[in-house]
Each structure stands twice: as structure tokens, then as C-alpha cells.
């Protein structure tokens, strides 16, 4: 009997913490999302079923934000994965200043996202920001490019900023993966006469895949949750807003807690789909 109780007893603190900090908010947010709940109408809070979800899915604003979210997700995911993996391979090369290079590579990760956005805002400033000065100096353009004035260039700039911040984590995870591959495998491959591309394709990449998977999962969550960079670069304008900005505006700016909770649930749903997909891919066995 004692043996049966003890494991549950040991798990109790974690169950309590998870319950209070994770499961309760999830359940509470869902119940809010089923209500008409505007803070400016405190006496008119009532149950409306799935009306908030229906209204959101019918609104142009939501689909516009979703398009922006997907665009950012794709760009950030590709950019971060490719550049992160390349950087990890570069950092794996033993040179005199490996440690320093690693520390420098990690720096963007340590920067708060909003500061990161402000920093890049100066670079892409529509008038004579650093990027425009460079392009004009090199004779590539005559007039300053208004980077933040069009939807797609703005989203492209947001992607660059987030990729810059996300690469270090991806590179570190992949570096750990790369360094965990036994040397013997490479020696055996060399003896068998394998060339560099083949070694990469048959040994390095497959064995790094679970680590890339972890990086991709983390990057996907980052890409869906981009907020500070968008606000720093374009404020709360319609132009570059993603679902998270939409959720923030609905909840905290327009004080519609019911609808805002529904938007939050949709964001969570999207993140959960990606999470399940990546967790499944992580569990696959590696063959080489």
C-alpha cells in the first residue's frame, strides 16, 4: 500500500503546479471564450456558445492575420533551420577561437525581442536607415526603399529579425547533435571511401535530425508567437499584424475578453497541431 501511495505523493507538487499554472488557465480561457464578456459591459456577461469562434472565423481581419502568421512561420522556419544547421557545422570546426565564436553567435539569442526589433528598426528605417544607406552607397537603388510601408516587405523584415534571434538556439541544439555523433562512424565511412557529401547525407544529417526536430519545434512556437518585433517595427497597424497581435488587440486594447480568449484558443490550437506533428517526427527511428 505504502509503495502505491509514495509515487503519487512525490508527484503531487508537480501535479499541483501544472494544474494551477497550466491546466486551470487552459480550462478557464476556454470557458471565457464561450461568453460575451466585454470589460466595458460588466453587467452583460453571458454564455453565447461558439459565437465568438464563428465571428472570428467570419472576420476578414482574422484571415488577414492568419495569412501573415503563416507567411512568417514558413519564412522563419526555413531561414532559421537552414542557417542554424550551417552555423552549427561551422562552429563544430576546431579553431583557436572556437569558444569566443560560440559566445558571439549566441549573443542575438540573449537580446530581448523588443530591443531586437528596435535595433533592426534603425537598420530598416524608411528614410535613410543603415540598409538604405548601404544600398544607395553601392549604387543599387537611387531612392530610399520604404521597407516598412508594404505588407510583404514588412513581413520579410520581421522574418529577418526573428531569424536573427532564433538562429543561435537552433545552432546550439544542432551543434550538440553534431558533437554527439561518434568519430568511429566517420572513420569507418572514410575507410569505405565515402566522400564528404555522402558522409553528410548518410551520417551527419540523419543523426542530427532529432536535434533539428527539437530546434524546428522551438522555432515554430517562436514564429507563431512573434509579437515584440512586429510591435517594435510597425506598432499595432493592420499591415503586419499576426494572430498574436490580433489576440492582444482584442483582449487588452478593445477589452473583449470573450473574443480575445477565443482568438487565443485558435492560436493554441495551431501551435498544438504543429507540436503533435513534430513530436511524432521526433519519435521516428533514425536509419543510416
Amino acid at each position: 500500500m505504502k509503495k502505491k501511495i509514495l509515487p503519487y505523493l512525490l508527484l503531487t507538487p508537480m501535479i499541483l503546479i501544472m494544474g494551477v499554472l497550466v491546466f486551470y488557465p487552459i480550462a478557464a480561457t476556454f470557458s471565457y471564450s464561450l461568453k460575451y464578456w466585454k470589460l466595458t459591459a460588466p453587467n452583460d456577461i453571458h454564455f453565447i456558445g461558439f459565437d465568438n469562434y464563428i465571428n472570428i472565423l467570419k472576420s476578414e481581419s482574422f484571415w488577414y492575420s492568419l495569412q501573415n502568421t503563416v507567411f512568417l512561420l514558413v519564412l522563419i522556419l526555413f531561414g532559421t533551420t537552414i542557417l542554424g544547421v550551417l552555423l552549427s557545422l561551422f562552429l563544430n570546426i576546431e579553431v583557436k577561437f572556437s569558444g569566443v565564436l560560440l559566445a558571439v553567435a549566441v549573443l542575438p539569442w540573449a537580446l530581448p525581442p523588443y530591443v531586437n526589433g528596435i535595433l533592426w528598426r534603425f537598420i530598416f528605417y524608411p528614410g535613410y536607415g543603415l540598409m538604405n544607406k548601404l544600398l544607395i552607397g553601392m549604387g543599387m537603388v537611387d531612392q530610399p526603399v520604404e521597407w516598412l510601408n508594404s505588407r510583404w516587405t514588412l513581413l520579410f523584415v520581421v522574418s529577418i529579425v526573428v531569424i536573427w534571434r532564433s538562429i543561435p538556439f537552433m545552432a546550439l541544439v544542432c551543434l550538440a547533435g553534431r558533437q554527439s555523433i561518434p568519430h568511429e562512424l566517420y572513420e569507418a565511412a572514410k575507410i569505405d571511401g565515402a566522400n564528404v557529401p555522402n558522409i553528410f547525407r548518410r551520417i551527419t544529417f540523419p543523426l542530427m535530425l532529432p536535434f533539428i526536430g527539437i530546434g524546428v519545434t522551438s522555432t515554430s512556437v517562436t514564429a507563431i508567437n512573434v509579437f515584440d518585433e512586429i510591435v517594435a517595427l510597425s506598432g499595432y497597424s493592420d499591415l503586419g499584424k499576426n494572430i498574436l497581435v490580433e489576440s492582444y488587440l482584442t483582449t487588452f486594447s478593445f477589452l473583449d475578453f470573450g473574443k480575445g480568449s477565443a482568438v487565443t484558443y485558435l492560436v493554441m490550437f495551431l501551435a498544438a497541431i504543429l507540436g503533435i506533428f513534430y513530436l511524432r517526427s521526433l519519435n521516428k527511428e533514425v536509419e543510416y
Binding site: P13, L39, G127, E146, L148, N149, G235, D238, F254
Partner: protein
């Protein structure tokens, strides 16, 4: 056995630590003597009184004030989060003019007592009054006043001060065509709150009306203002960078010398005389805002005020603090220490006459023209309405919409919001 004991101890320690945060303060009894004599005050940096001023208040009343300095943007969010949970974020809070409608609808502010004498002396009080209830008392006066660079105007051969918006447009064209200033008109065009207020004061000073009695937009007046803005954008009389830079950066082009005309905050009276903030000191003159046929007979105020939260447990002490903070004597002191422009016209007049506010120009005269463009006070849906307005204006500035289309876009949203009220 020993291992089990250690594990159990660790589990107990963890549980107790986790639960510790859920407890309440031991001495947090409501109405305890100590608590009743202490209030919290949440305000942005520019509203924080000096330690000497606060000590003086404590000496006078026995009430201690704990100041919580918070960024202006964060105050509303903190207030919303706390109030949603039925808590007071502080006893006394900053209340911006644009928040008052929603705070009133949400019932987060305690009505305040104000004498008729004060009401007559403080025209911006109207902004914070809903259904006859004064919800907050303004401490920092900000109303729209116009400024022009006399030297640049003269250089372009313009000797007369502009009287109407048509005069301003013609002057800007001359300033540009003579090569005096490339983008002479400074106005906010980015997708942010200041852009909404720019459209409001432009329509208001042009036609004396922005909103109809039912809360919808006045089509004739707002469309005319939008077309005026569109002309400024199309003729590049405003800097293209203003479409994405912050409203304040756009305004600052006047003090930077790259713009010749601005209708903007009253803070530019002092900014224009400060060499650290202005590269054209001595060239900027504050004037009455132009109108359609002559000078406008109205101007719009965007003041900041202090209110007492409904959930405060120290309401009386908090009210005393607000009364003290907005008194005539404190307004003079706060002008000296915090550069706050007084909301009492009598104090403003005294400071201008004593030359404590320099280069005031038409500042006092304009203060007497303050009135609200909202027939029924600031609406509870102001934030959503403003979002629709600034996004439509920004789209027009970026060439995605015409003035008519921008009007239609904002009108659809505002009509829907006004209908839901």
C-alpha cells in the same frame, strides 16, 4: 528508509514553497490604521512629484504616498488586468483622456467632487465628465495649438501668419516650390493613436464637428479633412517617412527645422525655446489654429488626469491626494519641477504673465477655445474606433485607399460600434 525520509522532506519543502506565494500579508487587515494612512499612486515619470513635494503632502495630511512609476503605455494594461480580477492596481492612477469612456463603462473609477469654481477654471474637465460625474481631474494640459517657423515663411516670401487651412496649404506649396523646405507640413500618418487625433482636430477646427449626435462620423466634415490630408501626402508636403515613423518624430520635424508648420501638443511651446531640443530656437511662433473661413473657434484637448480607482480601499485619502495634486499651488510647482502645463486657466495665465512660460504666443487664447468633439463624451469603444481610424488613414497615406475609401472603411466600423452601444 533514510532516502525515503529525505524525499518526503524535499516534497514537503517544495509544496510549502509553492504555496507560500498564495498566502496574504499577515498585517493586510482592511482598514488597519497604517494602511488607511498610506496610498499608492501609479503614474508615468513626468507625473511623479518630487520627494520634497510628497513629504509636504504627508506633513499636511498624514497620508504617505507610495509612488509606482510605470511607463504610460503600461498603465492602462495593468489597470485592465487588475480591474478584471476585481483588484485596485493603485489607489490613484493616471487617466488619459482617451481611456475615460471605457473606464466609466467598466465602472473602474470613483466619481470625484469638484466645485463650480474649479469647473469654470478648468475647461478640460469636460473631457473627464460623463453623465454629470467627474471621473478624473486633469493635471497636464495638452490641447492643439499651431506653430509656424517665421524665418522659413519669410524666406519663402510669406509675410502673413496663416489664418485658414487653405492659407496653410498655399504657404506649404510656396515653401516647397521655392526650395525653402522640402516637406513643410508636420503631421502624424503612422498607424497609431496620434494619427487618429490629427484627423479629429483637423475636421474639428475646419468644420466644428467630427461626430454626429448618435456617435457616427460626420461624413462631410471628416471627408473634407481626409481630402486635405490626401492633398498634403500626394503633393509630398509631408515627409514620406512620417507614414512609418512615430507621431512624435513627425511633430519633432518642426523643432528639427525640417518642417515649417505644425498643429500639435502644447509641449512644443517649451520645446521650441530649449536649445537641447530645438535647432531653430527663436524662429517658432505659437499661433491660433487655423479654421475654414478664419481662425478656428474651437480646439481639441488631449489632457491627462488623475483618478481614484473603484477598488481602492483608501478612497478618501486618495481623493485628498488628487485634490492636492491638482490644486492651483501644486500646478505652479509642477510646472517648475515637471514642466507640466497647468489645466487651470488662471494658473496658466499667471505663469504666462510672469514669463515662466516663455514664447507662449497664442497659448492662453487657444486654451479658452477648448471644447470636446464628442457630443456624448468619449465613447466606451474609443480604442477600437481609434484603431479603425488610424489604420484607414495610414492605408490612405500608403496609397492603398483614397480619401473616400478611407472614410468608408472607418465609417463602417464606427457605425457598427456606435450601433452596439
Amino acid at each position: 528508509m533514510r532516502k525515503k525520509l529525505v524525499s518526503l522532506l524535499l516534497v514537503t519543502a517544495m509544496s510549502v514553497t509553492a504555496l507560500a506565494g498564495c498566502g496574504s500579508k499577515a498585517d493586510g487587515t482592511e482598514g488597519s490604521k497604517k494602511e488607511a494612512q498610506s496610498i499608492t499612486f501609479m503614474a508615468p515619470d513626468w507625473a511623479v512629484p518630487t520627494d520634497e513635494q510628497l513629504d509636504e503632502f504627508t506633513k499636511e495630511t498624514g497620508i504617505e504616498v507610495v509612488v509606482n512609476e510605470v511607463g504610460w503605455d503600461d498603465i492602462r494594461e495593468k489597470m485592465v488586468t487588475a480591474a478584471a480580477g476585481g483588484q485596485a492596481v493603485a489607489d490613484v492612477v493616471e487617466v488619459d483622456w482617451s481611456w475615460v469612456g471605457e473606464f466609466y463603462a467598466a465602472d473602474w473609477l470613483e466619481p470625484l467632487e469638484v466645485s463650480d469654481e474649479v469647473k469654470a477654471d478648468m475647461p478640460t474637465l469636460e473631457t473627464f465628465t460623463k453623465d454629470g460625474k467627474v471621473l478624473a481631474i486633469p493635471y497636464a494640459n495638452d490641447y492643439r495649438l499651431s506653430y509656424y517657423n517665421t524665418e522659413q515663411f519669410e524666406k519663402a516670401g510669406i509675410t502673413e501668419e496663416p489664418q485658414t487651412w487653405e492659407d496653410v496649404l498655399e504657404a506649404c506649396r510656396t515653401l516647397k516650390s521655392t526650395g525653402t523646405v522640402e516637406h513643410p507640413f508636420a503631421i502624424a500618418l503612422n498607424a497609431e493613436e496620434k494619427t487618429t487625433t490629427c484627423l479629429m482636430w483637423l475636421a474639428y477646427t475646419m468644420n466644428g464637428v467630427v461626430y454626429n449626435e448618435d456617435g457616427t462620423l460626420n461624413e462631410e466634415s471628416v471627408t473634407e479633412a481626409l481630402k486635405y490630408m490626401e492633398t498634403l501626402i500626394q503633393e509630398e508636403l509631408v515627409d514620406p517617412a512620417d507614414k512609418t515613423s512615430s507621431g512624435m518624430d513627425a511633430y519633432k520635424r518642426l523643432t528639427g527645422g525640417s518642417a515649417s508648420f505644425l498643429t500639435g501638443p502644447t509641449s512644443f511651446v517649451s520645446r521650441s525655446t530649449n536649445p537641447e531640443e530645438c535647432s531653430v530656437v527663436g524662429q517658432i511662433t505659437p499661433i491660433l489654429t487655423p479654421g475654414k473661413e478664419g481662425k478656428s473657434e474651437v480646439t481639441m484637448a488631449l489632457p491627462e488626469a488623475l483618478g481614484v480607482t473603484k477598488f481602492s480601499k483608501n478612497k478618501e485619502a486618495a481623493k485628498k491626494f488628487v485634490e492636492w495634486y491638482t490644486s492651483a499651488d501644486m500646478q505652479k510647482k509642477l510646472n517648475e519641477t515637471n514642466s507640466a502645463i497647468p489645466t487651470r486657466n488662471s494658473v496658466l495665465e499667471e505663469l504666462i504673465n510672469d514669463d515662466k512660460i516663455q514664447n507662449a504666443g497664442a497659448m492662453l487664447e487657444e486654451a479658452k477655445l477648448i471644447s470636446s468633439p464628442f457630443p456624448d463624451g468619449i465613447p466606451s469603444y474609443y480604442a477600437e474606433m481609434s484603431n479603425a481610424m488610424y489604420n484607414a488613414i495610414n492605408k490612405m497615406a500608403l496609397g492603398e485607399l483614397t480619401a473616400e475609401e478611407a472614410f468608408k472603411e472607418m465609417d463602417t466600423k464606427i457605425t457598427e460600434l456606435a450601433g452596439q452601444k
